[in-house]
Symmetry: D2
Subunit: 366 residues, 4 copies
């Protein structure tokens, strides 16, 4: 494993291919849409034809009137969605590994004026509806010293690549409705989850109680155009002020809108996500078959979390492979629409050799 | 003036061409750069080759090591620049018409935790160095109840399209240094000012005392890539945290970096701005020659502010022309790199007819 | 004027007597009330008998149900009152010399999350209803980049010691109602204004359109117990959360409540304010009669702002006298319930001698 | 247990005596000090003689120069202390049951601009130095998406009435120094802990690494005067601005200062706390001897947390007794300087009867 590792298909180093879905390029269709939007004059700040078309297209896609606001990043989508709901003394329930809690630099706290993320446990990185119910019951309603239940945020697909079933979303939606709180879905990998669920977007969101959605496109073939999709339309006004105040209202909005229109045109987003999911499945199966490897969670989207002998991980690192590492000898691998089957197979081979080599080393040490 | 008004050159309605420089498309070179960046794998969040190259290119451009952070909007650039300087109880001096004070939805207040913009008067929309000196002297240093001087922010070119001379920038820089406060430059139209000054970027910024610069590219041919350029490098660390926390750290940063690299390559930014400035000059001269029209400020960049008979303004509006209006029968017209001379001439003709028609109407009313 | 100046009545230095009404002690009745409240057990955080009685007493005083929240300072009362109304992107109209704008360390900006104080001019330090009307009309409703009208704040008595008439309050109240914004009254010197108006509290507040009142007691014989009085009761809930979050909910609330109950018992607050006002009137008349002295505003409460020859002011300062100074050779003197007539007369004498001495000095210099 | 329960000693209902130490009156000495301070004129906002004396007295008490800032509540003391340390993207380590995390309405998040409280487990409600060390090691230094270690906050005595030993404080101080973070001590019950430790204040604070202390007086005989004591004097300047901005700078500061001076005069604070601690010890021993009762934590200050049969708790509640309840059939009882031994004994008797009665009921139900 000491010689350089390249992907034959791309000519680039395979070492970086599974680091994140953010490492991928932009899909050809979306790049094309940008060029197509680059003609003539367009009103700024979302008062243009492309943005108007975006509203219509997303309303069709979600089978109801929605408000769509393109933003620069998933962090902005999440934090501003929640800020449109929660009061400064509000409590926002989320899984203890949720991106908004662990990996967004406190953006949610910043935009809400210091509301509290109440982290809850849950199997396979999914918030357990019964844990939510219990937490809401435990909340001291009306106590001025305690965070007041305002929102619940779930990540779909989750940070471990698992997918909430429609029943699970509905259970969380019901719990929220009973508690008079609102549901935010962090859909940074929404398309990947939808492919797995095999249902229309409406079924996986507002029909199950979701009030506001961070609709991720960047990780799945976009350039820089995540969006906030608002189902509970009372949230749209505060949100629109927050967006401007946060420097998230593009002046040349048409280019964000054009990306998002192309993203859903002819189900492009599902086609791209299908590829990513298929590669993850292959990668997961391949790794699970190796000695000493255990998948941390079922592979339901485009992430693979695998427990692996620590010396084998070190060999992969030494070979220049990049990936997120978690406590307990766990590595995270992410596939995307531009990954090939042969890249996957090459990585599995590399992992096999690392494990064997590490095992050999260990034996030598004995 | 009741029949539709179109630009012969573009086939599009001239009515919208001078509304703002944000209505313009993206320059061909920048669109091309996006396509060129769309190959292979790139590390996310600015850890990629393009972003590394951006740091080098901007350091060359500014003739010193700088830190460059691409952001989604000029509002983000301004508010986060100032937030990297000012304490919550700080005072930020600016012109009373400054964009950060009047037109950014309170973004600066939001990101600083409620610091105070101290608005000062000044001729031609430029902060007067002596007014700044006086204001700083008047500030009650150490008084816990009063805003403490932290920063001064100037807009170059200004909101009225005037340009600070090198001497004026130096005077503000000296005042700031004497007062131990820092200088932010809102360079939403930095290229336009540089064309007028005819000097290298370094001369118009850090060599005259500027600590941090909002480097605008979007209004001058970019798609969505303004940047913060940090000269006072102690600001880079707090700024980098704020950027992530504000949802302004692109995951696919290479596409922002690629835009900015192309923007300065072979002085593209100056060539684009030169065109816009030349059109504004022609427009200003043409309008100033009309009866009853007075330019509010000298045309030194790509903005024209003209006082015009109110009935003529109403006729332009009725004809569907879009522009910002200010108190005192003043309209603002903005040119950009994609405006043609014939569009300018057509608009002047339209204004001439509106004025004549309004004068006729007035006579009729008598 | 070089020898020490003492008040014969108090044995203390007269030099400090007119610096502010905060320099005064606590009235005997209020100190007595504290001792009376110091028996047995009382529930914390306002769930006690004294606080319940406070609600009843203030509801009687104001001739309607009100919510009363004791706070530590006038700054807390003002900032939290406004924070219970204004959104982060809200605009709060106030006089350009308003305490919340000039002298509270940005507390209002801090607690509102960076809302904008829109400062307006007005004669005698009073907000002009027509200026307010005009400003509200000028506000760009719905524009995401501009502060949205949320509140107006007036100071009664004003920072210059003038008093809004009932007609003026009503005019501001009507303008606010028409504009769908809410009225905050900074009543740091509410009792002093009421003495001048000669009407019941209800007439000077909610019956004229005031939604929420900072009810000052500390400057007029209290120890540390200003209060927020809520007329628009929808504000009470957000306010109560903000109070706890701001560390303004006393654990031993009974002692704040006891002060406020005693303060209004048998019109103590009016009797104390009457004394302060009478002293200010005497002081104003005495000073106005001196050569070269001009009152800046009519004396309608317990403040005297006097323009005076600069050398005479310097002599007063050299003699150790303490007072606030404003641009244009203006000094501010404040009386309080504990000032005596002879102290007033002594100060007038001192001022007379300073002016004479300064005039002599000036002549010497010629 | 259905008949009313009164304390023979006080004539008041014993039912409320152990609810909290906030239910207690003010000690005679402190009330006396307030009256003594009520003479003549005093400069406002802490520029007076009493406040100057407070600085000297506390500097003597702590055997070094300190800065002392009186505040209205313990919540203000805690949140503003931490806000003087932590950056908006900072992490503040604390026990998972810490008051700042659970019971202060998000004040710390509000004043820090949304910094993150990182809650850690620990036996007997005390932060475990090794858990802290581990958490700091786990922190992703420099990662813009993760909270950056800034502070650790410990509560002394803890929320369960346990006391950190000098060794434990030193271990936390060392860990903090190694990690370049600062130590805040929430000393709402500082005097109670000091009585248990039997050492001078300096030994239990800055000599063991504490940078800033919330010095509680209100729960132990004060009226409304907690204080922030600053050892790391670089924190004093930002803190002083925050205090004014938070509406926590008393205008008549002398009365807060006078309370605090009296509080430490002749070790009053230790004498008051000794009484409270002794009562708690007696109460704990008495309850522990009852059938079915288990103390949750050793009684080391003035709190008793006791697990008790649920039906017995219900009987106490039905009898009108007030106390905090925690999950797992745990009740919290708090003693204070004004509790008598007979009140303690009476409560133990009441608890004994409740338990017996509940047991009888249970048997009846079988």
């Amino acid at each position: 494993v000491s010689k350089p590792v390249y992907s034959r298909d791309t000519g680039g180093p395979i070492a970086f291919r599974f680091r994140s879905d953010n490492v991928a390029p932009v899909s050809a269709e979306i790049l094309h849409a940008l060029a197509n939007a680059n003609h003539g004059t367009a009103a700024p700040y979302g008062n243009d034809e492309w943005t108007a078309l975006l509203q219509r297209r997303f309303s069709e896609l979600f089978e109801r009137e929605v408000d769509v606001f393109p933003v620069a990043t998933g962090t902005a989508a999440n934090a501003l969605s929640v800020a449109s709901i929660a009061r400064p003394w509000g409590g926002i329930y989320c899984h203890e590994l949720a991106h908004i809690h662990k990996t967004e630099g406190g953006a949610t706290e910043a935009f809400t004026g210091g509301a509290k993320l109440v982290a809850l446990p849950g199997r396979d990185c999914k918030l357990d509806p019964s844990a939510l119910t219990e937490a809401v019951l435990r909340a001291e309603r009306g106590a001025r010293y305690a965070p007041q239940p305002d929102a619940v945020s779930i990540t779909q697909a989750s940070e471990h690549g698992t997918v909430y079933t429609l029943e699970e979303i509905a259970a969380i939606g019901k719990c929220a409705r009973d508690a008079a709180i609102q549901v935010h879905m962090d859909g940074a990998r929404f398309a990947n989850s939808l492919v797995t669920l095999g249902c229309p977007p409406a079924e996986a969101t507002w029909r199950r109680g979701v009030d506001i959605l961070s609709f991720g496109a960047t990780k799945n073939g976009g350039m820089a155009a995540d969006a906030i999709v608002v189902f509970n339309r009372t949230l749209a006004e505060p949100l629109s002020y927050w967006l401007r105040r946060a420097g998230q209202t593009w002046s040349k909005m048409r280019f964000a809108a054009a990306q998002l229109i192309a993203y859903i045109e002819d189900d492009l987003y599902l086609r791209l996500a299908s590829k990513a999911n298929a590669r993850a499945k292959r990668l997961g199966q391949g790794l699970a078959a190796l000695p000493g490897v255990r998948l941390v969670a079922p592979v339901q989207a485009n992430l693979v979390l695998a427990e692996m002998p620590e010396p084998a991980i070190e060999l992969l690192v030494a070979a220049g492979v990049r990936f997120a590492r978690y406590p307990g000898s766990v590595i995270r691998l992410v596939t995307h629409f531009d990954c090939t089957e042969s890249e996957v197979d090459e990585f599995i081979g590399l992992a096999r050799r690392s494990i064997a080599s590490a095992a050999g080393d260990s034996e030598d040490e004995q």
